[in-house]
């Protein structure tokens, strides 16, 4: 990455979540992972009805609420209180993961450390920290019909997170369908990674320079819509 890109403005976490939420179609059953993905429950496009699943045993909750507001017994997988909604229901962990593993989720959204050009996902174990947490990530990565990754395009040091081959331990092989980052939206296809959208002010070439595998630039590649 060249120095002049280092200071260039990227999308913030809220806008990444907003962009992710545009993927949710009417009636989709969606699981949101800890971090950026969880914010997406607050950005469902107007007029669409989406059912959120959380692995702690709930379907159909609404927006994340402020700490101190809300009921501690109605939380998402990050332990954040969420707004109850009509149609919501609760269940235990065996049922919750029957839903995940059994293919009953339309979309899972997660964070990641690395995604490979084949769609391999590494998001649970950081070698430099020697420890990690599998949690529900492996189940969600292989169980959902469509897996969307929301993450920063590069590490703090500027190294690409979209790589030819993951150097971190895998969460699941060949599972990612779409990557939404702070500078791009990239689809994982059989032909390779297809660059669909770039953050305003960014060019495909600039995104490529921060991505290890070669990107196929979609002929209709356009700016990410921010609202």
């Amino acid at each position: 990455m060249s120095d002049n890109l280092r200071g260039k403005e990227r999308l913030d976490r809220q806008i990444i979540a907003l962009r992710v939420a545009k993927e949710f179609q009417d009636g989709d059953v969606v699981n949101l992972g800890i971090g950026i993905p969880m914010l997406a429950s607050n950005f469902v496009p107007a007029g669409r009805e989406v059912v959120f699943h959380s692995e702690n045993g709930v379907l159909g909750f609404g927006e994340v609420t402020l700490p101190g507001e809300g009921d501690l017994d109605i939380v998402n997988a990050g332990g954040q209180t969420v707004r109850p909604q009509p149609g919501m229901c609760f269940f235990g962990h065996d049922e919750s993961f029957a839903i995940v593993r059994g293919g009953h989720l339309d979309i899972s959204v997660m964070g990641a450390y690395q995604v490979s050009e084949k769609g391999d996902l590494a998001n649970y174990m950081v070698p430099e920290r020697e420890v990690g947490t599998i949690g529900g990530a492996m189940d969600l990565a292989q169980g959902a019909r469509r897996l969307i990754i929301a993450m920063n395009h590069t590490t703090k040091e500027g190294e690409p997170r979209i790589v030819k081959k993951c150097s971190y331990l895998l969460t699941a092989p060949e599972c990612v369908d779409l990557i939404v980052t702070d500078i791009a939206v990239i689809e994982v296809t059989d032909r390779g990674l297809v660059l669909k959208e770039v953050a305003p002010g960014w060019t495909p070439e600039e995104v490529q320079s921060m991505t290890e595998p070669t990107l196929i630039v979609d002929p209709e590649c356009h700016d990410i819509e921010l609202m």
Binding site: L18, N56, I74, D94, F97, T133, I134, L169
Partner: protein, 273 residues
């Protein structure tokens, strides 16, 4: 004689948990789903060299006191007092928070078997349902495969996962009766109903004991047949002493509040400017 599974105190409820026991602990990551008073009693009892089966490994009481949870102890009470020999666990550490379990792990003071969360739930259920094992696709192509039998069924690869058997299951429910029937509250079911009945002895910590027949038979989540002992939390939680000193907890709560506020602002103005 009427059936009566109600036990008078937490200490009595855990009196037969000996050193070296295998204990399942219900809940998720949040303390409100956790059998806090039973964990405190196990600590007081002094049982050590425990093998624990749980979703997570605790964050300590401070973070939950900040949230206003009246019973703030979680798995950390066994972790920080070094009572655990081996943890079978899905989410032992956190990306945002260095917990005491991580410190023990780095120091080589505890063994770990890390299990995908759904596989943990299914292995616990297998023990309860009398299954010899289940074939699960989760973990194929990862380190979770190691040492496990693989089988291709109907064109797809699966791992043979074995039941997790335990001596005790400590769970938390909202209400219970003298037969051991239980209901939960909101998202605090988590591993509690899954673990109920999966161990040799199941002990339920409840917010409230009610008369037999008060729980709606259509809404009972855990049939009493799975539960051996029921013990009620004090109606008035003990006062929490001292300042909240956990700077990580303070920091992560502050960060999250800022983030939700940022989300609200972003939404109000209809996206980025």
């Amino acid at each position: 004689m009427p059936i009566n599974k109600i036990v008078a105190s937490f200490d009595e409820a855990v009196a037969d948990i000996e050193d070296g026991a295998v204990i399942m602990v219900g809940g998720f990551g949040t303390v409100v789903s956790t059998p806090s008073c039973l964990l405190e009693a196990v600590y007081r009892k002094g049982a050590k060299n425990l093998t624990t089966v749980s979703n997570s490994s605790g964050f300590g009481a401070d973070i939950w006191r900040m949230q206003g949870a009246p019973f703030p102890e979680d798995m950390d009470i066994l972790v920080r007092n070094e009572r655990i020999k081996k943890a079978i666990v899905s989410a032992p550490v956190s990306a945002l928070y260095v917990n005491n379990f991580e410190k023990l792990l780095r120091a080589g003071k505890v063994d770990i078997e890390m299990v995908p969360q759904g596989t943990l739930a299914e292995r616990v259920r297998a023990a309860k349902a009398g299954l010899g094992g289940v074939y699960i696709p989760t973990g194929i192509g990862t380190v979770v495969e190691e040492g496990k039998e693989k089988k291709v069924i109907d064109g797809r690869e699966y791992l043979l996962e074995l039941p997790i058997k335990a001596d005790f299951a400590l769970i938390h429910a909202h209400k219970g009766d003298r037969w051991g029937n239980l209901v939960y509250r909101g998202t605090s079911r988590t591993f509690n109903p899954t673990m109920a009945g999966a161990a040799r002895v199941t002990i339920a910590e409840v917010d409230e004991i009610v008369e037999l027949g008060e729980l709606d038979p259509e809404c009972i989540v855990t049939p009493g047949v799975y539960v051996d002992r029921v013990v009620e939390r004090p109606k008035v939680a003990p006062a929490q002493e001292g300042e909240i000193t956990d700077t990580q907890a303070l920091e992560s709560t502050r960060r999250f509040r800022e983030e939700v506020e940022a989300v609200k602002r972003t939404k109000e103005r209809g996206g980025a400017q």
